[in-house]
Symmetry: C2
Subunit: 603 residues, 2 copies
């Protein structure tokens, strides 16, 4: 009971040893992350098509939930760019951005996403995240970054543009150029320049002025909050709001009321695919950040419990008027670098955001959209890694194709289409790769009991017995290929009376492959050839015994391939054993046996 | 040029040696198959929701196309039960059965299916059929058989029932019982009894009367045509048509006009998923029949050319007023047993059907639907194999789950839902299975240079060096699992300074796994541990050299694991080499090396 509690509430673990030193460090980290999170959460809410204040709402309860359930000591949960874009893509076609229905649907999306994560935890379905291969995730994030940046340019230019993909956004921006609002552009471009300088130069300048490196780095993280304050000051003093600069406007003061999103079954069903993709993408991103940070301090995270924690965080987001959240990359690194010791830093951050909501919301009235857009653009462009495509192409064309398909899909059609295209293509390529295992005809190495590929070694083949080695488990992706190849091989060896399948590389024979073996047996019998097996592994043999294949197939299962040949064609085999080796490839087959077996497996 | 022609027109091959003996045998086979095909094609057209005559149309041009392009000598192409059911499932919700739009859409479906098959041939996508694992196909066929039989019972009972799944069909049949039409029931039940006797008993009786076994068997195949004639005679003599027995009615005389189905892009797009499933299911069934028959005479079929031939057959079906076709099981076996030598038997069968259309269609006016339904029921029930579920469960619960899901899906929802459910579940289970490869910590076998699983052998482990062996290729399904496991192992071995990954079982490292290795390297560095590799296969090494991993990871790649340990922890390794073996499990590691390596790989 206590163990189960400790497993599902990892906070019990670190709370036991919590002391003042840890509290001091957590508090400092929380302060810095809070100052970083305020502009980000407002901006990502805008990106998601929601009123900026919902970003603050999504940065309270989810952080508390993660503090209770999370296994990473330093992961910082909250709104993140890619998930906000996916939220906008899912809800944009259904409701008017910012409307009450839209806000309610975003809460529903968070609820569904949280429920799916909990379901995956309960059913141990975390492996589903494997569907998102690295090339697909990398291509998805780069293309999403470009798409987000393009989508935010309208706020920098102060024009109206609609579109879900790169071509329509570009076209809209171009045709909108004559309407550019200059005061907005001034704020937007100024913010971009300021944020770029803060990100790339300021740490160096501060260090040159003699500041400690860590302090300088932490100070540079609150650049966005300074940009916010400067922009608010400019708008207020110059009355730019009246001059047509779009500002956030009235922000309700006070904490969000706890409430369940109105549950509409038809809508829930419609949002389910988006919720699933959001869950998987969020989980993959979050776990990889958490794992990287945990390793730096030789800590551990528990992927299945992370599903629980992220599920809890999203359900908390839904209850507290927010939208889908996950662990953020930049924010978690800042939290880690600022010295956070435990997830309590997250709870303290939540407290900071709550204080902001209680006391500072009037400040945000004059916050221009342009500066939020600049925050987003600078953040997402750092995620774009186009060189990855080239690197991957050099390493594997198949993987690069999956990456390119994902990117093109995201840019030309939309986020969901892109990710589905990428996942579909990687599965296809995977299946194609695994559907054609290496199958070699083998013969006896003269002077030894070893059997090798006839195409690579000067070996002796029995005329009566065809020896075939399969270098892969036998399962449905390659079951029919095996049938084809054996049919072809028997056609090429008309004198064969026996076919021995050498199975040292077979770790599994599934039901499809068993059916194929049965079909092969029947067809070989019809052609007057008997099938045998050799070197079948223990677990595979145990399973075969549970079918009636061994009783019906009429052949034998030999411990070693040599023994099979000795039994089925003693003359050839004994002669070969006595013969001197003619090939220079192997000086002494016995001492090389282990290495050579491995070397030749695949070629 | 000539070679390419021979490849795409396999008929050139057998036509060269065609002689009178072959012609005689082909003619006899064609006669028997024609007599078998007439009732089947009428019945399967009815099953597909089409006017019975379209079944005859679908049995002319497709057979000629297969004669030209097919690589099987004995496959009999034409309408088959499962594909007809899938046609009905695809078109039923869209148009009124038997209407002109329905007929035209069926032609379009055949065209799409043919085009997809040709596309698969051109892009070498035949491996897509691997998605349909044996358990899924077997479950699909059994459940379809039950569904078809249930659907045909209304014709036997002479009532009206609508429904696409087992529960609605059963409910409809039960509520329709009071309206049973007795004359129809008499014909239907009589036909069922007659066909069952012909199928199960008549061959034995004829042999008891001294008839040759093959002749008796062939005679029993024309049972359905006799049932047809008897029913027509009964209806005509007793004027049952006027008594309310549903008959086929006016059947147009003459060959179908060649025409393209009216091409409607929106409809084509809507039918695409059904066309894809029909193509795949048809291909899988046809190829497995063709392969079984070819093996009996040590002939070969060429799966990729079969895609061309079936594609051609379906396009021919579309042009000739038919609907989707494929190679039929029972019909092909009859063709083979009757002695067909070449695909010309198929062309002769087509001629037989053409003659039927020209001269005998008036006969079919009084053909009752009930006897066609009886033909279908007897044919499909022989495909139902419920015991397969039990057999598969005993062998593998995962495979049995996929089979059960397919069956339940087909019976409770419909054919498409069932097959998608089964394919989805088998992919999920496959991914799950492959996502958790066997990863073992290994240690040195005392007195040897061999390294074995610490859990199975009394081995010596270095404190400084953690040795880990992976028994699977590293690719996206297991890349993250590897990260998790290595993180866990390093956590358990706090004294380790080096981690050597032993890779004899790794046949591939894809881009996802490469990223994972890079992440592992970074995390290990952060924890003060250096990663190394050992026993990497040549092709894998070649590929790694194309990335910059080897330059950056900071470790070394050792030829053998022993060499790695000798370098990284010489003291422990040399001591272990000198020690006598303490374990009784291996008497002499050198002579057992090959076998033991294989035996322990997986456990």
């Amino acid at each position: 009971m206590k163990q189960a509690l400790a497993r599902y509430l990892p906070c019990l673990e670190w709370a036991k040893q919590y002391d003042r030193a840890a509290a001091a460090k957590d508090s400092l980290a929380a302060l810095i992350v809070t100052l970083m999170l305020i502009p980000q959460s407002l901006a990502y809410a805008m990106l998601a098509g929601l009123p900026p204040v919902t970003g603050l709402y999504a940065s309270i309860l989810p952080l508390l939930a993660y503090t209770l359930f999370g296994t990473s000591r330093t992961l910082a949960v909250g709104p993140v760019a890619v998930v906000s874009l996916m939220t906008a893509a899912a809800l944009g076609p259904l409701f008017a951005a910012g409307s009450a229905e839209y806000v309610s649907a975003a809460m529903l999306l968070a609820l569904l996403s949280g429920a799916l994560l909990l379901l995956m935890a309960a059913l141990r379905l975390g492996f589903l995240a494997n569907f998102l291969s690295h090339p697909v995730v990398s291509g998805f994030i780069s293309a999403s970054g470009i798409l987000i940046a393009l989508g935010q340019l309208k706020h920098i230019l102060g024009i109206q543009v609609h579109g879900e993909n790169a071509p329509t956004l570009l076209l809209g921006l171009l045709s909108g150029l004559p309407q550019v609002h200059l005061p907005t552009l001034a704020i937007g471009a100024g913010s971009l320049l300021f944020l770029w300088l803060v990100r790339s130069r300021v740490t160096g300048w501060l260090q040159a002025l003699g500041m400690d490196a860590r302090l300088a780095s932490n100070l540079s993280k609150i650049g966005p909050v300074i940009a916010l304050l400067l922009a608010i000051a400019a708008v207020s003093l110059l009355q730019l709001g009246e001059a047509g600069v779009r500002v956030v406007g009235e922000v309700p003061t006070g904490l969000p009321a706890l409430s369940l999103p109105s549950f509409n079954l038809a809508l829930a069903w419609q949002l389910m695919p988006a919720a699933l993709l959001i869950s998987l993408v969020g989980f993959v991103e979050s776990v990889s950040v958490a794992q990287t940070l945990a390793a730096k301090r030789r800590q551990r995270i528990e992927p299945n419990q992370e599903l629980v924690a992220l599920g809890g965080a999203n359900i908390a987001a839904a209850l507290g008027g927010g939208f889908p959240v996950t662990g953020g990359f930049a924010r978690s690194v800042v939290n880690f670098d600022a010295g956070a010791q435990t997830p309590l830093a997250g709870a303290l951050t939540a407290a900071g955001i709550a204080l902001t909501l209680l006391f500072f919301t009037p400040l945000f009235h004059n916050l221009p959209h342009a500066v939020l857009a600049a925050t987003i653009i600078v953040a997402v462009l750092s995620l774009v890694d186009l060189a990855a495509l080239k690197r991957t192409w050099r390493y594997s064309r198949q993987d690069a194709s999956a990456m390119a398909a994902t990117m093109l899909g995201v840019l030309l059609v939309g986020v969901e289409a892109g990710i589905l295209l990428g996942v579909g293509l990687s599965l296809l390529l995977f299946l194609w790769r695994t559907s054609q295992p290496h199958i070699a005809v083998v013969g006896q190495l003269p002077g030894s009991e070893h059997f090798r590929n006839v195409e690579r070694f000067a070996v002796i083949q029995s005329k009566k017995v065809l020896s075939v080695r399969v270098d892969e488990s036998l399962y449905f992706p390659n079951a029919r290929y095996l049938e084809d190849r054996i049919a072809a091989l028997v056609g090429q060896h008309p004198q064969a009376e026996h076919l021995v399948l050498m199975c040292p590389g077979v770790n599994l024979i599934d039901a499809s492959a068993l059916e194929s073996l049965e079909a092969i047996t029947v067809r070989l019998h019809a052609a007057g050839v008997q099938l045998h097996l050799s070197e079948v592994k223990g677990p595979v043999m145990d399973r075969l015994r549970r079918s009636d294949f061994l009783q019906h197939f009429g052949g034998r299962v030999f411990i070693s391939h040599y023994e099979a040949l000795l039994e089925l064609d003693p003359q050839t085999t004994e002669q070969a054993l006595k013969r001197q080796q003619g090939t220079p490839k192997l000086a002494n087959p016995l001492t090389h046996s282990l290495k050579e077996t491995h070397d030749e497996n695949r070629t």
